[in-house]
């Protein structure tokens, strides 16, 4: 995405220059300074430089991708832990299978739609099975292939594909939690396939694939909008079409707490997600360069999470009278989602402020959605939608031009005026409108064709028995004498 091409062009200059040079045989800015006799060695030097960089960058991107993959565990544990024991097998199954679905659908067409050369709205070339022409790791001018939008990073095609795949998978897992404890297993699977095959890649193309928002100058470094709010909008549509869980709202309209069954799993998941975010954000440089950008991003990411934990703790303490662990963990995730877009564009100080705000927002949002009787068992909307939007807008407020190299221009609070903020807002609205409407339609069609909600009896007995014929904790649910 432009974001990153810029980062490179400013921070890893040589990368943009040498390969071209190696191919068109021109004289580099450096060797230019030397005697022609030194030319041979110079090019050898350049070759080495590039070949070494490819190795380092690939290792970095793959390891970051592994961390992002690992976030699947975080989502599975947070979401199952925040639901009831009787629905645990179902939620775990959804979260476990959803990444498999994503892997296949993104491989079949998602990748091509998102990064294939195409128009401003979706990719057209190299559409299927990531098998388009491609001469990676060549970059910039030197790149010849169907996936130019991501040719700014000098790593093998499969490394690019895998890194983007784990991001696509994340968007799908977000939905799982919001529709938990009542959605039919197969209906969820169908939605996930469509989401990752079409919805996610299309808006992704707009922002990261060379589409109109990228051209416009909308910036989303690691995906507050591309990944999180897209997941959030899809979840919102699902929650509306699906309706709330049995007994969630009392006849008097008050909320009947449906306790999550396992806070240990929720905490485990929260820390795993935080851990995975160190691949999600710093990894999105997709290049190591001189390391200063990834180090900055690691710290801004961590600072936002830490501040969000404090502010959500305080907010929950004030509003609920006692600090609610489930809110604190939502808080940490909120801070991470909010800093995802700006992590490379803002100072550490700004990341602290962004995190602090995110932590307050998420607690209020949880209460707000319950007021609207939008039943979201795990707080997915409050975390990913609300803070995905906030984080994207935060770029327009806190960005400092070229702070880690990217020429974002400065945000409102740093003398950049409203320009950037407006671009960000357009991005938020456009992606939101498209994703919500499309998702809403898809959920409806699925409802008509396959049905969406399990029967009242099944909901009472639990989806584990109903959908899977087994219990998650047979020795502790009822009792067993085997």
């Amino acid at each position: 995405m432009i974001t990153k091409r810029r980062i490179i062009s400013f921070k890893d200059l040589y990368k943009m220059f040498f390969p071209a040079l190696l191919l068109i045989g021109a004289v580099t800015n450096i060797s230019a300074a030397d005697a022609p006799v030194a030319f041979a060695e110079q090019t050898a030097l350049d070759e080495l430089k590039v070949s070494m960089a490819v190795g380092i960058d690939t290792v970095w991107v793959l390891l970051a991708a592994f961390l992002v993959f690992f976030m699947n565990l975080g989502f599975a544990m947070v979401e199952s832990g925040l639901c009831r024991a009787k629905n645990t097998v179902n939620i775990l199954s959804k979260n476990f299978i959803v990444f498999a679905i994503s892997s296949i659908s993104f491989y079949i067409i998602g990748w091509g739609l998102m990064f294939g050369n195409g128009n401003s709205f979706f990719g057209i070339e190299g559409l299927f099975f990531a098998t388009g022409a491609d001469n990676s790791p060549a970059i910039g001018e030197a790149y010849k292939g169907d996936y130019s939008a991501i040719s700014w990073t000098g790593i093998p095609l499969m490394a690019k594909f895998f890194f983007q795949l784990v991001f696509a998978g994340t968007a799908a897992t977000i939905v799982s939690g919001a529709v938990a404890e009542r959605v039919k297993f197969h209906s969820f699977i169908i939605f996930s396939f469509i989401l990752v095959a079409f919805l996610y890649p299309i808006t992704g193309h707009w922002i990261w694939g060379g589409g109109w928002l990228q051209t416009l100058g909308m910036w989303d470094f690691a995906g507050s909008t591309v990944v999180h709010s897209v997941g959030g909008w899809s979840a919102l549509a699902g929650v509306i079409v699906l309706g709330s869980r049995l007994g969630k709202y009392r006849s008097d309209g008050s909320v009947n707490p449906i306790f999550g069954h396992n806070m240990s799993l929720v905490t485990l998941g929260g820390i795993v997600l935080w851990f995975g975010w160190f691949g999600f954000n710093p990894g999105s440089t997709m290049a190591v360069g001189d390391g200063s950008a990834i180090a900055h991003i690691a710290v801004s990411t961590n600072t936002a999470a830490a501040m969000a934990i404090l502010s959500s703790t305080i907010t929950s303490w004030l509003i609920q009278k006692k600090p609610d662990l489930s809110m604190i963990i939502n808080g940490a995730l909120a801070g991470l989602v909010a800093i995802t877009a700006p992590c490379a564009f803002v100072s550490i100080g700004s990341s602290a402020v962004i995190g602090f705000i995110a932590g307050i927002l998420v607690v209020l949002a949880v209460l707000f959605f319950d007021k609207l009787k939008l039943d979201d068992p795990v707080g997915a909307l409050s975390v990913h939608l609300v803070n995905g939007v906030f984080g994207t807008l935060a770029v327009g407020l806190f960005a400092q031009d070229k702070i880690t190299g990217a020429a974002t221009g400065s945000g409102l609070f740093y003398g950049g005026g409203f320009k950037l903020l407006i671009n960000q807002t357009i991005g938020v609205l456009a992606v939101g409108a498209f994703t919500f409407i499309a998702a809403f339609a898809i959920w409806h069609v699925i409802k008509l064709v396959f049905g969406l909600k399990v029967s009242r009896e099944e909901e009472i007995q639990g989806l584990d028995i109903g959908e899977h014929g087994m219990k998650a904790y047979p020795d502790f649910q009822g009792f067993i004498t085997k």
Partner: protein, 113 residues
């Protein structure tokens, strides 16, 4: 004095508690049981092996009441626990010879409430 034992559907717990309160029966002991009767069970399947589960989760009430409270208590339970579906449960009434409040040592009818 009687000891009333009622087996009901778990999801009726709050309703029954509610109804008892309205009948001025505020003291009770509740436990989690599994029961088997006319209600059909369900099959659990695990790694290819199947098992018929006929013992279903129920909630058990144990309420000691003075004689004049027996009728209202029974009515309250029946009214609130009934869904009309098989599995609604049973109520048993057992003679209670003595009741003692541990805190005070009081016994008999005064100790029940």
């Amino acid at each position: 004095m009687k000891l009333i034992i009622a087996i009901i559907q778990p999801e009726k717990l709050t309703d029954v508690k509610q109804a008892l309160a309205e009948a001025n029966v505020g003291k009770m002991t509740v436990s989690s049981v599994i029961g088997c009767g006319a209600q059909g069970g369900y099959t659990e399947s695990y790694r290819g092996a199947e098992e018929e589960i006929s013992l279903i989760d129920k909630v058990r009430f144990e309420i000691a009441v003075n004689d004049e409270f027996v009728k209202p208590t029974l009515d309250a339970i029946i009214k609130s626990a009934r869904s009309g579906k098989i599995g609604d449960g049973k109520i048993f009434v057992v003679p209670l010879e003595e009741c003692i409040r541990v805190r005070t040592g009081e016994n008999g009818t005064v100790a029940i409430g």
